[in-house]
Structure formats: C-alpha cells, structure tokens
C-alpha cells in the first residue's frame, strides 16, 4: 500500500516537473550541488588523501604533513595481506558485526513489541526513556560499560552474579546454575567479545527501537483482525502480520548499524585495546594501533582504506539486495 503511494509520488514527479515555472531541465541539480561540494571537500577529499598516504612509507602522522614520506606503490597493501593479524582482525570484526547484529535485532524487536503492546500502561514514557542512551556521547557510555565489566569481584556484573549465586545457593540450586565468579570479562577472549557485543547492542538498540516502533505503528489493526478471523493464533499472527511489516525497517536499520559496528573503535579501545593479546582487535583498532603504537602510518592508512572499501562494498551489496535504495533506482 505504501509503495503504491510512492508510485503516485513518482508518477506525479514528472507531472509536477513539467508544470514548474522553470524550463531548465536540470534545475534540481542546483539544489543538490552545494551539499555535494561540501560533502566532497570535507569527506571525500580526506579519503582520497588517506589513499595517497597508503601508497607512501609514512611512519608517523607528521611525516605525511611534513612531507617526509615517499611513494612506495602498493607495498603496504602487500605487507598487509601477509600480516596474519590483519586476517584475524578482519574475521573478528565480521564476527563481531554478525553476532551483535543478530542480538541487536532480537533485543530491539522485543523491546519495540513490548513497548507497543496495548496492555502496557505508560508505554510512551517508557519509549522515551529507553531511547536516552542516544543522547550520551559514546566515549562516556563506553567508559561506563568498561567499568561495569570489571573483572574484579566488585565489578558490577560480578557483584550481580555473586548475589545471584547467593540467592540460588539459598534455594540450594544445583551447581550448574551458578556462575564461577569473578568472571574475567575483559581478560578472556570470548568473555571480552561478549562484553563488546553487549555494549554494542546497548549503543545501537535505541535507533532500532525508534525505527521498529514507527513501523509497528504503521501496521493496520485490521490485518491482525483479519488474521484472527482467519483463525490465526498469536504466533501465527506475529509471523504473518507483524514480522513482514517490520521486515523492511529492520533490514534498513540492520544495514546501517552493521556498517557502524564494522567501524567500532571506542569499545575495544576503551575496554582492553582489542585484547586480550590483540585477539579482539577490530579492524579500526588494528589500523589505529599500527599508526600510533608502531609508527607504521602508511600501513595504517592501507588498513583503513581496506576498511572503507569493505564498508562501501557492504553498503553497495546491502543497497542492491536489501532494497535499501528503493526510490533511488526508479524514475
């Protein structure tokens, strides 16, 4: 229904266009050009420049600015491909993106469903509250999460788990239900990965919730009713009515947040510098560390260019096959 509306808009476009007071065919371009120029000069140019750096033997930031670097062709890229840390970093990054995405989607859909449920009193307020993390700068919230994930027994999560253990023991629950506190959230590879994912999910869910909530509000009640009259139970209604309606928006939000996750820097950096032992070094951390700790600026630029290329490629694929650019292709 909605996309038929879009068609109307599209069809109307040509009609409107021919009726506008300007005969110049490409008049609209004038409105777009300033943005393109601003964007290119501030965003595109640095990327090109970064690419240039990646072709040099720059060792530290200053050697680029000061002109002390020489062109060495694709040597950095060649070195990069030989570096096992690059591959481990890439695969960890994709794993991080995939896992956090799946969790994010489930969490956000759950929250959105609950906070859109007819039986929940005061859901508008809850929705407003739940969105609050959006307002805090990442550096702050991530540092806070770093504190909560402390390995120490008095770290927040370890304390909570300790209390849980006490409670369960009081119920004389079997040993398997207890946790082995303190858990080294930042010192174990997968524990740290879990901590990253949890934090990433927390950072990204508000955006998703907003989008899903508005999608849910667009689902006509009569579809649920039609399904009810057709004899469908709650689960079937969820599958046939709710899910398809939110599929598009969820996909949209997923693609966007996945691209952001791919570029996650602060979480690993603040938590444990991609540790333990560089095992969780996400790609940007890897690039940053090459530049900062090892003074391999050219190599670092190459890493980041590869990362940008990956994000670009990812967006391209997503846009093509995810229908994200609906309305771009038509007309």
């Amino acid at each position: 229904m909605a996309s038929s509306q879009l068609d109307v808009g599209g069809g109307g476009l040509s009609r409107l266009r021919s009726a506008l007071p300007f005969s110049g065919h490409d008049w609209g371009l004038l409105l777009v050009i300033p943005g393109v120029i601003l964007f290119s000069s501030f965003m595109l140019y640095p990327i090109v420049y970064l690419f240039y750096i990646s072709l040099t033997d720059a060792t530290f930031a200053g050697s680029v600015i000061g002109g002390g670097a020489e062109l060495i062709g694709l040597a950095n890229y060649a070195q990069l491909l030989r570096d096992p840390q690059f591959w481990s970093s890439m695969s960890t990054t994709w794993l991080f993106v995939a896992v956090s995405l799946v969790v994010k989607v489930f969490v956000a859909v759950g929250i959105a469903l609950l906070l859109n449920h007819a039986r929940v009193v005061g859901k508008r307020y809850m929705r407003a509250a739940v969105i609050v993390p959006l307002g805090f700068p990442g550096i702050f919230t991530i540092t806070v999460w770093r504190g909560m994930f402390s390995d120490a027994r008095f770290g927040v999560f370890n304390t909570v788990l300790g209390r849980y253990n006490e409670f369960m023991s009081a119920l004389s629950a079997p040993q398997v239900l207890l946790f082995d506190v303190p858990i080294g959230f930042l010192s174990g590879r997968w524990e740290a990965f879990f901590a990253y994912v949890t934090t990433e999910v927390w950072l990204a869910y508000p955006f998703m919730v907003i989008i899903i909530v508005s999608a849910l509000q667009d689902v006509p009640e009569s579809l649920h009713e039609a399904a009810m009259v057709d004899g469908a139970g709650w689960l079937q209604r969820f599958r046939t009515v709710t899910l398809p309606a939110i599929k598009g928006p969820v996909l949209f939000a997923s693609i966007l947040t996945a691209a952001t996750s791919f570029q996650q820097f602060l979480i690993p950096w603040v938590f444990n510098r991609g540790g333990p032992a560089r095992q969780n070094e996400l790609i940007i951390v890897y690039g940053y560390r090459e530049a900062i700790s090892f003074n391999e600026f050219g190599l670092s630029a190459a890493i980041l260019i590869v990362a940008i290329a990956f994000v670009g490629l990812f967006m391209l694929v997503a846009v093509r096959y995810g229908g994200l650019a609906e309305g771009v292709g038509e007309q």
């Binding site: 930031a61 200053g62 680029v64 600015i65 120490a152």
Partner: protein, 393 residues
C-alpha cells in the same frame, strides 16, 4: 553570540614591541599541579618580561603533538616525562625537537646524574628536568604495623588479609602495566631494555626470575588489573598495600587515615629496580624557526623553573614531586613520603629514551596480561614478548 572566529594567535608570538619574547607551553597536569604551575608562570612573566602562553590541549598530548608540530602549529615547549625524548629526537622530516645546548646558560651539573642523562639524546639537549617519579609501596598503617622489608614479609601480611570472597585483598597493583611492574622484572639485574645493546633482555634468566616474583604478588590483587579497579581496593581500606606513584598521595591521604609510603620490599635481598620518569620541559622544533626572543622565553622559563630551589622544594612538599635538583636532594629536607619515593628512584633506572623502547611496551603488556590471565606460563610469555619486540624493531 560570537565566540568563534580565529581564536588564539598560535605560536609566532613575536610581534616585536616590548622587549620580552612570547612562547607557548603545552601541559597536561592535574588541577593542583596546574594551579601551581600557572602561579609560577605569572611570577616568571613579571620577572622576565616574557609572555608564556600556557595551554592544556587535553586528550593524549603526544597525539596532539604528532599532528601539530609537522603542520607548524605546535607549542614551543611542553611538559612531559622524559621518555618521549628518543622517540621524538630521531624524527627528521620534519624534526620534532630543538637542541638547546647553545641557549641554556646554566650547567646541567646542577641536576642529578640520571636526570642529566634523561634530557639528552645523541649529545643534544632537548629539555630540562624538574622532578622524577616512580612507584613505591603504600601501606595502610591501621592494617600493617611495620612496613615490610622483604617480599616474604609483605606476602605474609597479605596472606592475613587476602580473602576475595569477602571483598578483601592483599594488594592493589596494576600488574599488567610494564611501568608499574618494571621493578619486579628488573629486580634480579635483568633489563627490560638494555641501553647498551639497544635490545630487550626480557628472555634473560634474570628477568624471568623477576617475573616469578611478580607472579607471587599478583595472586593478591583484585582480578581486574585495570588501574581504577586496583586502586579502589586499597582506597576503600580493603587491602593493606598498594603499589603506586606519588600522584596518588593527595587522593589516598584523604581516603586512608594513616597512610604510609615506603620503598618496595627487597626480593631475595635485591632492591626492585623500578623505572622512573623524569618530568621535563621539552624544547620543541618550533623553536628552530622562531625568533630568538621566543627561544629565550621558552628556555628561560625552563631554566628558571628547574633550577629554582624554592620551587623545587615547594613542589616536593605540595605535589609530592621528587626533586632532581642536586642541591635540594642533598639538602634532605624532604617529607617522609617524598623521601621514600626518592629512595625508590635511587634504586631504579630512568625509562630508556631510545626510540626502540617504543616497541617494548605493547608486547610486554600483552605478555603480562597473558600471564595474569593464566593463559601462559611466565617464561614462554617473556620469550614470546622478546621475540615480538625484536621483530618489530
């Protein structure tokens, strides 16, 4: 509202006119230190007629310098521990540091020997030192009657208290930070970085024995080796000991009623050789192209400050700075806390300034982390770190 615009006038303060020069100084000090520094600068300005433009760029100072100096917008001088000297001194295109040998009037002999060495690289003078710092042993006098002399003493005390289930620990110590643990690793005479061979010595037998000693105390710290998680155990009175630097004196003395500081206990009779950092006024490469008046202002301030006994003495009392001005050190008129730190500095070694030292920190941190997490035995961990460091150089 117009608060924008072109802002400050950068580093080229030489607009002629009055006699004094103008120099910019970047600092990254805590509030108390900063206040004191500002006051001294005012004093210097009125005495000399120079203008010092002190800024606090915040964030990571070295990152700021990395971009600012090459683009010609860096400061004329900055204050930091001496360990960046080597890293910056080898930079050529563009250069980062300025050789002030010809501009400094005072003889370097007024400083302690370690301090003199610290501010020079390849014969060039890149800064002037004014304080040193290292880690020593804090103890809670309510829990510890007698400061421990030996590691065994200390461990037996820690055994008394250590009980994590009840939220009690033996020690607060960021045990994966090479700077903090350098004393233990180097206790048996091994060197993390050998300034002669310009190689690391981590896989030496001596270092490995030091590492074993470190592992003995590591069992008594909270499971999170992060700085903030560690210090809180001591600060809350949940641990009798902490190994930390003079910068914590102010905070801790507020939290712990009877705070004691002493040198690190001996290990098999050896004094732990901790790394020390020497606070330095750096002379930046900005000075190479600057007017002489600016150079004079920058070096003048450094000279005045670092050689002023009164300042150094006051700093020792108020900020816990360990003096490196020989006259003050020898005077012996220092508080007990500071004396403990000064003593520890004596036992220790300055952080090597050689640029190769840069490659040491990360692999060593990782090795320490692996050992602390129980993922690797200490011996192989050090071997691995040593070979990684060699590879990276």
């Amino acid at each position: 509202i117009s608060t924008g615009g072109s802002g400050g006038d950068g580093s080229d303060g030489s607009d002629g006119g009055d006699a004094g020069g103008t120099a910019t100084l970047w600092t990254d000090l805590s509030d108390g230190e900063d206040e004191a520094m500002s006051a001294y600068i005012d004093e210097y300005e009125s005495e000399s007629g120079d203008t010092i433009d002190k800024n606090e760029p915040g964030g990571e100072l070295d990152q700021q310098l990395e971009t600012a100096i090459p683009s010609g917008e860096g400061p004329d001088s900055w204050i930091w521990a001496h360990d960046w000297i080597g890293r910056f001194a080898v930079r050529e295109e563009p250069p980062f540091l300025y050789d002030a040998s010809d501009d400094v009037d005072a003889s370097l002999d007024v400083f302690t020997e370690t301090a003199q060495e610290a501010v020079q690289f390849d014969g060039a003078l890149h800064g002037l030192p004014f304080a040193s710092e290292t880690v020593a042993l804090f103890y809670n006098e309510d829990m510890v009657d007698e400061p421990p002399e030996t590691l065994d003493d200390m461990i037996s005390t820690m055994d008394e208290f250590h009980n994590p289930e009840n939220g009690e620990y033996g020690l607060s110590y960021p045990v994966t930070n090479p700077y903090f643990v350098s004393g233990f690793i180097q206790a048996y005479g091994g060197d993390i970085f050998d300034t002669e061979s310009l190689e690391n010595d981590l896989d030496s037998e001596a270092c490995k024995r030091g590492m074993d000693a470190l592992e003995r105390v590591s069992d008594y710290v909270p499971a999170d080796p992060g700085y903030e998680s560690q210090i809180v155990a001591f600060a809350d009175g949940a641990a009798p000991f902490a190994i930390n630097g003079p910068w914590e004196i102010a905070n801790l003395s507020e939290e712990i009623e009877n705070l004691g500081v002493t040198t690190l206990p001996t290990i098999d009779g050896n004094n732990p050789r901790t790394y020390s950092g020497i606070q330095t006024f750096y002379f930046s490469a900005m000075l190479s192209d600057a007017d002489q008046s600016t150079v004079d202002a920058a070096t003048g301030l450094a000279e005045w400050y670092t050689t002023n006994e009164e300042i150094i003495q006051t700093n020792a009392e108020e900020q816990g700075y360990i003096p490196v001005l020989s006259s003050v050190v020898e005077d012996g008129n220092l508080s007990e806390d500071v004396r403990a730190f000064a003593q520890q500095v004596d036992h220790g070694v300055p952080i090597p300034t050689h640029p190769n030292m840069n490659a040491v920190w990360t692999p060593l941190t990782e090795a320490l982390t692996r050992v602390f997490n129980g993922n690797q035995e200490s011996g192989p961990a050090l071997d691995q770190a040593a070979s990684e460091i060699r590879e990276n150089q």
